[in-house]
């Protein structure tokens, strides 16, 4: 007979699970409320979600760093806390965007909010572990919820987007598990810290490099899919176009942050192993991604689609930092996403504010450039704020993303990859063109005749969100110092 398993509760360190517990309970709470009483207003759920996220935020913040919990499954190191905070921040900014003036399909479901919270929980699990199993399960939880959230927008575009995303996601999941299998095969473990230990010892064995690198290739496919690196990015523009604007904005940040953390863990350990070829792969992917995405964004007709390509390009940019394997580079990633979060979400929220139910300017696109023609005369404040976001995305100081770009380029330079830094710089210059194009439309072109108000979907919560985003984008220079200090601390304390 088996003897009873005796485990002390203290050793489980259950506190590490607290953030996820909070959010899962929140999601369940919403479901229960829905069960008990129908026809509640969506604002209730929005506020509940925010509260839940807020408590979650607090719980995450109160975690002590560098602890493992639950049989070493949970890993609360700096980057996991950091990324959770970013994810929660983005989620908190995202959720109020449901309170639009017009009614959209997805918000008529209370389930939308619980699915959303489940998704956030999934992402939190994903970043708070270095066990490939938990990462995988968290990833899939989040992804499945995400597919649904996209489809719930219930337009032809969103259906197409969901199915494309879903199918490709399924394929990527296949690659992920095969990659994990390869790692497992050579190391006998699916926990990265164990894997690292084993592989350190086995590095000299003949032929070991092949499966190791092979595993990296397969995992990179999956990572590349999620953070949308070329050529695994193909879903991105379509999904962004099909999904609602806030969802697109959210997707450009949160799943990427989550996967980026996984990438930091996985690729970081590869590079630590001295696998230079992995580094080359990442750099190659990064360069291809930022360049091609940029030039494709140039020729877009729709702002949202342009922003989709632009976020691909930004992902490539950040990916380059990943290859450097320096503390500064890793800090750069989080700094970048921290700043990108506000700017990009703000930009998408602006699109959301301008959303009509019917396409008025283009048979296919909701947000063609023409829509914003002459915005400065019809809605000057909107134009100025959108311009701030665009300039920030361009990397014009003093707007926030400049600091992120600068920091990452600086990290690249420090690591000795000056050529890469120059490629990154020139890419930013190319990118300037399409951001500028929108500014040109907004400020320098006359309004299209017969235009109605652009801010049709505007409501106070949306304006507040945009205001917060714009404020952060503009005033970033003043909290660069604490932010950088915090991020640096968090990253270095995690050993990266």
């Amino acid at each position: 007979m088996l003897q009873a398993v005796d485990i002390s509760m203290a050793s489980l360190n259950l506190i590490t699970l607290s953030p996820m517990l909070v959010i899962v309970s929140g999601a369940l709470l919403i479901m229960i409320i829905d069960l008990l009483k129908k026809d509640m207003d969506k604002s209730l759920f929005v506020m509940l979600s925010i509260l839940v996220l807020f408590v979650d935020f607090g719980a995450t913040l109160s975690l002590s760093i560098n602890e493992r919990g639950f049989f070493d499954l949970m890993l609360i190191d700096g980057i996991s806390v950091l990324s959770q905070l970013l994810i929660l921040l983005a989620s908190m900014l995202f959720i109020p965007l449901a309170l639009t003036q017009k009614r959209f399909h997805e918000y008529s479901y209370p389930e939308f909010f619980s699915l959303f919270l489940f998704m956030v929980a999934g992402f939190q699990f994903m970043v708070a572990s270095d066990n490939l199993i938990l990462i995988f399960v968290g990833l899939e939880t989040a992804s499945l919820a995400l597919y649904t959230l996209i489809a719930m927008h219930n337009t032809p575009g969103s259906h197409e987007a969901a199915i494309k995303y879903f199918t490709m996601g399924a394929m990527a999941a296949g690659f992920f598990v095969m990659g994990s299998a390869a790692i497992y095969a050579v190391s006998g473990s699916v926990e990265l810290f164990d894997v690292a230990k084993v592989l350190q010892q086995r590095m000299n064995e003949a032929g070991i490099v092949l499966p190791i690198i092979g595993g990296a290739v397969l995992l990179l496919v999956a990572i590349g899919f999620k953070v949308s690196l070329m050529p695994f990015h193909m879903w991105t523009p379509d999904v962004y176009e099909g999904a609602s604007a806030p969802m697109a904005g959210y997707m450009s940040i949160v799943p990427k942050i989550a996967m980026m953390v996984v990438a930091v863990r996985v690729i970081g350990f590869y590079i630590d192993l001295g696998m230079e070829s992995v580094r080359y792969m990442v750099i190659a992917l990064a360069i291809v991604t930022m360049t091609l995405a940029n030039i494709m964004a140039l020729v877009q007709l729709d702002v949202k689609r342009m922003l989709a390509y632009s976020s691909i390009s930004h992902a490539g940019f950040v990916m380059a930092a990943l290859a450097l394997d320096t503390t500064k580079a890793y800090s750069g990633i989080f700094l970048y996403y921290g700043l990108f979060l506000f700017t990009n979400l703000g930009a998408f929220a602006m699109l959301w504010i301008s959303r009509h139910k019917k396409n008025r300017y283009h048979s296919r696109f909701h947000h063609p450039y023409e829509k914003f023609s002459g915005l400065i005369s019809t809605s000057p404040m909107g134009a100025v704020i959108m311009a701030i976001f665009m300039l920030s995305l361009t990397g014009v100081p003093p707007f926030s993303l400049f600091w992120g770009k600068m920091y990452i380029i600086s990290a690249t330079v420090d690591a000795g990859y000056i050529w890469l830094a120059i490629i990154m710089a020139l890419n930013s210059a190319i990118a300037a063109y399409y951001y500028l194009k929108l500014i040109v439309y907004m400020f320098l072109k006359p309004p299209v005749a017969g235009i109605e108000a652009v801010g049709v979907n505007s409501s106070r919560p949306l304006v507040v969100i945009v205001g917060i985003a714009a404020f952060v984008t503009t005033m970033s220079v003043f909290f660069m110092e604490p932010m950088l200090t915090y991020i640096n601390y968090m990253v270095s304390v995690s050993g990266y």
Binding site: G157, H159, A162, F166, G174, S180, V190, R364
Partner: protein
């Protein structure tokens, strides 16, 4: 004697078959079959490795893959039903509105 390698090669072949299916299928339902094959290939690999290493983590992974596959099917089928109801087709050549 059948070694781990055999199983892994089998898994590789299965994965490739799945991949081929994914690439070549235009009917979404059949395409989903192919993705199941890919996941199953991984299952085989994990089970084999687990068995040869005398380590249970692989089986765990395979177990969760099964769970994931099941969930995916649920969501995927939901999507398919939605699509079918709206558009009356599951041919992915029909879903090419967004491009460029």
């Amino acid at each position: 004697m059948i070694g781990l390698g055999h199983y892994l090669i089998l898994a590789s072949i299965l994965f490739s078959i799945g991949l081929v299916g994914v690439i070549r299928r235009k009917n979404l339902l059949m395409l989903f079959f192919a993705t199941e094959i890919m996941l199953n290939a991984a299952n085989v690999a994990f089970a084999a490795i687990s068995s040869y290493h005398h380590d249970l983590a692989g089986q765990m992974f395979a177990f969760f893959i099964v769970a994931v596959a099941a969930s995916e099917v649920a969501v995927g089928l939901g999507l398919l039903i939605l699509l079918y109801k709206k558009y009356g087709t599951l041919d992915l050549d029909e879903f090419t509105m967004m491009k460029g």
